[in-house]
């Protein structure tokens, strides 16, 4: 976890921390030192990296494990599911063959479903977080730096976005998008669903970050070093990119690490509500939906996606906390 902070801001760093020896350290290095001392942060980071690796390596895992998330094992191989469609083996059909058991009715392998589900959910969440953050940065800085009328209108737009009932909107709007874009003799392509979800999540996610950054920029705009830059004839682009942005990386990084787990849960939530990925694409949220339907007879099926999501979200939030603490030790405790 390093930051793209350039070494030019050494002056700023000394104002934050007193260096005891003669060693000069950049704020990035200082942050890294503090972060390494935070055990929770390191553990969370390892867990988060693990999840990302699982998502990236899903096909490899599936190959080594010898199953895929699409085959209906329980239906193709007799003796795995009973007549009602529930796994015959205890614990949801866990065995050396099916590590996390089998999905009731369709009999797909839960382990690969989960691994690929993480891939789907994380993929959409990462994409949405990147778009959200970029949008938030641009709008926030423009509003804060330009001020005046621009700031007023952007501010109202942010108000509108923040107060918009986004879940209801997404539920209502997704079928409309599909009926508009998909010819009637074709299936809704998976990428369209993914892109729609990403755009929807991004469209409603940027406002918080934008408002935060606007505040930061507003307070920094009148600082001496910005004034100095302006007096020396620096262009607005240079002021934004070279003077303001380096000081904004901390809130941006913290906000986006907290945003990502929120996006993962939002994506899972939308799938749970039936506007996420279809039945054919492994998805975390849909696993929950199915699990809530069958938990009375097969609790195991609820536990695996549940615990996986819990661990991921908690770890990522703790990581976000640790990153913030490492950047800004003053607000710790």
């Amino acid at each position: 976890m390093t930051t793209p902070t350039s070494t030019e801001d050494a002056i700023d760093a000394t104002s934050v921390t007193e260096t005891s020896g003669a060693v000069g350290r950049s704020p990035g290095q200082l942050m890294w030192l503090r972060f390494k001392r935070d055990r929770t942060g390191v553990i969370s980071a390892i867990i988060v990296i693990f999840f990302f690796l699982v998502a990236l390596l899903a096909p490899v895992i599936s190959m080594v494990y010898g199953k895929d998330p699409y085959t209906l094992y329980g239906q193709d191989i007799p003796g795995l599911l009973n007549d009602y469609g529930y796994p015959i083996q205890p614990n949801g059909g866990i065995s050396s063959e099916y590590w996390f058991g089998l999905e009731p009715s369709l009999g797909r392998d839960v382990f690969t479903q989960l691994v690929y589900g993480i891939r789907t959910s994380l993929g959409i969440a990462v994409a949405a977080t990147l778009i959200t953050t970029t949008l938030g940065i641009v709008v926030g800085i423009v509003a804060g730096y330009a001020g005046g009328r621009t700031d007023y209108f952007v501010g109202r737009l942010i108000d509108l976005t923040l107060s918009f009932p986004q879940t209801i909107f997404i539920i209502a709007f997704t079928p409309v998008v599909e009926s508009l874009l998909v010819p009637s003799d074709e299936e809704t392509p998976v990428w369209l669903r993914a892109v729609t979800l990403t755009i929807m999540l991004s469209a409603f996610g940027w406002a918080g970050l934008a408002r935060l950054l606007r505040g930061y920029v507003l307070s920094m705009r009148e600082r001496e070093y910005v004034e100095a830059a302006r007096v020396t004839g620096a262009s607005p682009a240079r002021i934004v990119f070279k003077e303001l942005l380096p000081n904004l990386w901390t809130p941006i990084l913290i906000q986006s690490t907290l945003l990502l787990p929120a996006m993962v849960t939002a994506e899972a939530g939308l799938s749970f509500l039936g506007v996420g990925m279809g039945e054919l694409v492994p998805d975390w949220g849909r696993m929950f939906l199915r699990a809530t339907q069958v938990y009375q007879n097969d609790i195991t099926y609820l536990i695996f996606p549940g615990v996986a999501l819990l661990i991921f979200v908690v770890a990522f939030n703790l990581l976000g906390d640790s990153v913030r603490d490492a950047f800004d030790p003053k607000i710790k405790r």
């Binding site: 935070d38 055990r39 929770t40 699409y70 085959t71 209906l72 239906q75 007799p78 003796g79 599911l81 009973n82 007549d83 009602y84 469609g85 529930y86 796994p87 015959i88 083996q89 205890p90 614990n91 949801g92 059909g93 009731p104 009715s105 369709l106 009637s184 003799d185 074709e186 299936e187 279809g278 039945e279 054919l280 339907q293 069958v294 009375q296 007879n297 097969d298 609790i299 195991t300 536990i303 695996f304 615990v307 819990l310 661990i311 908690v314 770890a315 939030n317 703790l318 906390d321 710790k332 405790r333």
Partner: protein, 593 residues
């Protein structure tokens, strides 16, 4: 480390513990848990088809036969998944709509429940089930005294005439068409365009306010059964609002719609002008009906299992126990007296759209590859669905003789090799099938199963989810863009001639010939059997034709035959699944205080 972090870690730890320590029992206890040959295992008790006999004028007098322990008054709640697609009787053909119609509409004739599983065809608005003359061509009905509309005006023969005439209008597309065809011709809308331009239909005579005479072109000895259909319930001439009538019908039945929020709720209050003494069919015991829509069968089942508060006085028309809960519901002895089980009297088919899937080899390949056993398992096993192999339903067909063209008894899981071979022989070695389905959670899963099986046989499947409320309306358009879709059809009255000539009859928008199979040869053959005076010979002939159609045309895949298990609240009495309509009848429902 601050406090917040530590507690979060504790949660993590506890969750991991739960993971390790979790121990859920297996599901071996279920009956027939071991893999069985997927033959259509028998349901719990042998099904007894309903007995329907002809009632007399005495039988046609009200009030209805009371169910045991009846209590009058109170508020009953009905919870179901979907709102009714149509309230105009002339547009009602689906069982959910016509069954609800019993509460607000009345027809010339109807079925009176005498005992469980025993029914009589009696006069509803008419004094008896009709008088036939002229060798079956002329039918005469006399209206009862004291039958009124919701505003207190008398129901007259002019209203009955109007009811039949308006079914010829352009905007009526979804209702039954027997009477119209019998009065005119097969393509009846060409013969007469409805009463709105002032023209009357020949063939109906109203000598006075109480008498109505129908003169058919050919003998139809079972016309009084046709008049019992919900689609021929009457509509007042004075209050007909054409298209708008579908939203705000005018009541002749025991209740009036007090409020209706589409897709959400409906409330019925008593119709003060309905007189129980004139009605042999409807008990109408509760004072108020509250109908709730938009709940999935899963939630509805859970509410009935929990049985708390107002849900004790609730039942459902059509929301059967979903596969996820079947194991639990069937094995819970305490639910035994609130459980209703009935196999479907319908034929269920996955129709090919013959206008699009022109290659019979491909249609046969789909039949061979069809994953019947897997679908059965997804639906909840042999307790939830049987696997028939014939077009005619074994539960409702007299002289039923099974045959198995596609090896479904030996290979219920599908014969992929055979299918592959047929696909290779067909015109297009890499075919695509557009499969349209009703978007419900269960159907989503069944679609995965179908897709999985057909793609193994090298047939690409494009799955199109359709809105569940207008599902039938979409697939019954002749120019639809789908290749394969599920459709159900049941005999409209107990006669074999109401299945084949309908599902392979005239092709029209909103019609029931969804495979669009319509050859002169077949039509002639069906006409011949229909007019056969020897019932037994006709039944044998229908069975033979059944096999011949599948061999010669393969217009459909025979679908699984569902066995409905339905629950009701503990304070609801008289709940029975109507064996003909396969839906809980509103006529006998009452609530205990």
């Amino acid at each position: 480390m601050n406090y917040r972090k530590r507690s979060a870690l504790a949660v993590l730890a506890a969750a991991s513990l739960a993971l390790v320590g979790a121990c859920a029992p297996g599901n071996q206890g279920a009956p027939a848990g071991a893999p069985t040959a997927g033959s259509s295992a028998p349901a719990q008790e042998p099904y007894k088809p309903a007995v329907i006999t002809m009632g007399t004028a005495e039988d046609s007098k009200g009030p209805a036969v009371e169910p045991e322990g009846v209590v009058k008054g109170g508020t009953v709640t009905m919870i179901d998944r979907d709102d009714f697609a149509h309230l105009d009787p002339a547009q009602s053909y689906v069982n959910t709509a016509t069954n609800f119609g019993l509460l607000i509409h009345r027809g010339l004739t109807g079925y009176k429940r005498v005992a469980k599983g025993e029914f009589k065809l009696v006069g509803d608005l008419a004094t008896d089930a009709g008088t036939v003359s002229d060798g079956g061509k002329t039918w005469t009905f006399t209206l009862k005294d004291g039958v009124k509309w919701q505003d207190g005006s008398a129901i007259t023969s002019a209203d009955v005439r109007w009811t039949i005439e308006r079914t010829f209008a352009d905007y009526i597309t979804f209702g039954p068409s027997y009477i119209q065809q019998w009065l005119t011709q097969d393509d009846y809308k060409k013969a007469y365009s409805g009463p709105y331009d002032g023209k009357q239909l020949d063939g109906i005579e109203t000598p006075d306010d109480k008498t109505i005479v129908f003169k058919f072109k050919a003998p139809h000895a079972d016309a009084n059964y046709a008049f019992a259909m919900g689609g021929y319930a009457i509509v007042p001439k004075a209050k007909d609002t054409k298209e708008k009538y579908d939203k705000e019908p005018f009541s002749s039945g025991p209740y009036i719609i007090k409020s209706h929020v589409v897709d959400k709720s409906m409330e019925l209050a008593r119709n003060p002008h309905w007189d129980a003494a004139t009605d042999p069919i409807r008990g109408a015991y509760p004072d108020v009906w509250k109908l709730e829509f938009g709940q999935e069968p899963l939630q509805i089942t859970d509410r009935f299992v929990a049985d708390v508060g107002p849900d004790q006085q609730a039942f459902t028309f059509y929301a059967a126990v979903p596969p996820e809960r079947l194991q639990q519901v069937l094995n819970d002895a305490s639910l035994a007296d609130r459980r209703m089980v009935s196999p479907s009297p319908y034929g269920n088919y996955y129709y090919f759209n013959l206008d699009r899937v022109k290659d019979q080899k491909l249609r046969q390949a789909v039949n061979y590859a069809w994953p019947s056993k897997q679908i059965q398992q997804t639906l909840g096993g042999p307790q939830a669905a049987a696997l028939p192999t014939t077009i005619l339903n074994e539960n409702t067909t007299v002289g039923y003789k099974p045959y198995d063209l596609f090896g479904k008894t030996t290979k219920p899981e599908g014969d992929i090799e055979k299918a592959k071979q047929l696909v290779a022989e067909s015109d297009n070695p890499s075919p695509t099938i557009v499969y349209a389905y009703n978007q419900t959670p269960v159907q989503e899963q069944v679609t995965v199963v179908i897709k999985n099986a057909l793609e193994k046989a090298g047939i690409k499947v494009v799955a199109k989810p359709l809105d569940r409320k207008t599902y039938y309306d979409s697939i019954s358009q002749t120019k639809n863009e789908f290749d394969l879709y599920w459709g159900g059809w049941g005999a409209d009255w107990p006669s074999g001639s109401t299945v084949m000539p309908i599902i392979f009859g005239p092709v029209s928008d909103g019609g029931q010939n969804m495979s669009h199979l319509n050859t002169p040869e077949l039509t002639a053959k069906m006409k011949e059997i229909s007019e056969n005076p020897d019932i037994d010979a006709a039944n044998t002939a229908w069975m033979e034709l059944d096999k011949e159609i599948q061999e010669k045309y393969t217009p459909l895949v025979v679908a699984e035959n569902r066995i409905a298990t339905t629950l009701h609240g503990s304070k609801v009495g008289g709940a029975e699944i109507d064996p003909q309509m396969w839906i809980v009848s509103p006529n006998t429902i009452f609530v205990k205080p």
